[in-house]
Amino acid sequence: MEDKVFQRLKDILFEEESQKRTLLENEVASLRKEISPAQISNRLEPIVNQKVEELKSNLTALSGEALGEAIRAQIRNNKEDIIDALYPIMGSLIQKFIQVELERLSENINKQIDDTFSFQAIKREFLGLFGVKQQEQLMKNAMKPEIEESLVIYQNSGLLIGHYTSKDTADQDMIAGMLTAIKSFVEDAFQQKGGHLDMIEYGTFKIIIQNSYKYYIVAIVAGVVDTNYKLKLLRYLNLFAERHLAKLQEENLSEGAVSMLLDKHIKEFNPDL
């Protein structure tokens, strides 16, 4: 009996709380239902998909700009790092080039030193007496220009009249034709009356061209060619043209005869005289 009364009293006193509790329980149940993995997945999926699509369409622009800016900043701020990164590629190429050139120079100097009793060695000793350093003479000689090929060509047709070669490489007839085509093209393109192509640079070679009336003479030179050498060579080739080519038709010289003359004169050419 007491229990019933006590329960009744409890119901009256806590009626409001009981209602609130029921409401809260319903609320919790509803929330639980809403945040179940299946429900979250259903709701989030379209939103995530939309964001992914937006990112996809803007990714190239965003990353391009960002990457470009990042590279620019990296170059600006870390020049030394960039050099370090590029060095293994560029550096080895430069290193190889310098190494080959130094080897050639060293071989030339060794060749000169080995030739102890040659005229050149005695000349070096003699000049040494007057204060000209032997090292300087050796360096000068090691880098000395050398005529590897020389060609006498008809100005108009590009046909070869005579040639000199220290190394048999390509076909001289074809070289003569191609040089004439290049020369004609340059001279036609710039249309300067009296203007002539007088030098072409190719790698470590200089192709020096002396024009005369009907013919032109080409010298393909390896080594260091300075202005002084070039002028002396042009003067020498001009002299050759005046002496031998001016009377070419009168004397009816064959290709072989012109080649022999050219061979003799090219071997005799001394830029120090």
Binding site: L159, L160, M174, F185
Partner: protein, 164 residues
């Protein structure tokens, strides 16, 4: 043995087969792919005719005959000319007369040969129709692909150049 050098120029519109004819004559080769010639390409072949060694320096001049597009100097000093046209493209033989007049004005003494190339691409019937349309009689109907008449054409030009 007497040895002489002669400059031969090949002229004509682009794509008529000048380079292929030269390649066939010098190297006995033909390639299907078309590579346009830039400027000029020079080849050499030696022929022996009547105990005379003739070094033919062949200038294959890039695709035009016009006065403005090809440096005049490429033609200078030529000892022989081959004018090539394409038998399958009438536009390449429409101006033969004017083009030859222009060349002959520069090289009055040089012998020339007219060559209608790509014969292999035409049937007998089509060939007859094309020949009827030509503004000048054509001595050589050639095929750089099969080599037909290529050797004979260069041989005849060489003989004309050395007067044999």
């Amino acid at each position: 043995m007497q040895s002489i050098s002669k400059k031969v120029i090949l002229v004509g519109n682009f794509g008529v087969g000048k380079t292929s004819l030269t390649r066939q004559f010098v190297y006995q080769k033909f390639a299907d792919e078309y590579l346009t010639t830039l400027g000029v390409k020079i080849d050499k072949k030696t022929l022996i005719i009547n105990e005379i060694e003739v070094n033919m320096i062949i200038w294959d001049i890039a695709g035009e005959v016009s006065q403005t597009k090809v440096p005049k100097s490429y033609y200078l000093g030529a000892n022989g000319i081959i004018y090539v046209f394409d038998l399958t493209r009438p536009s390449t033989f429409k101006h033969i007369t004017e083009d030859l007049d222009y060349i002959k004005q520069m090289l009055p003494n040089a012998p020339y040969i007219l060559a209608g190339n790509k014969k292999d691409l035409l049937s007998e019937e089509e060939l007859k129709e094309t020949i009827a349309q030509l503004p000048l009689p054509c001595e050589y109907l050639t095929s750089a692909r099969t080599g037909e008449k290529v050797e004979q054409m260069f041989d005849e030009l060489t003989r004309k150049m050395i007067g044999k």
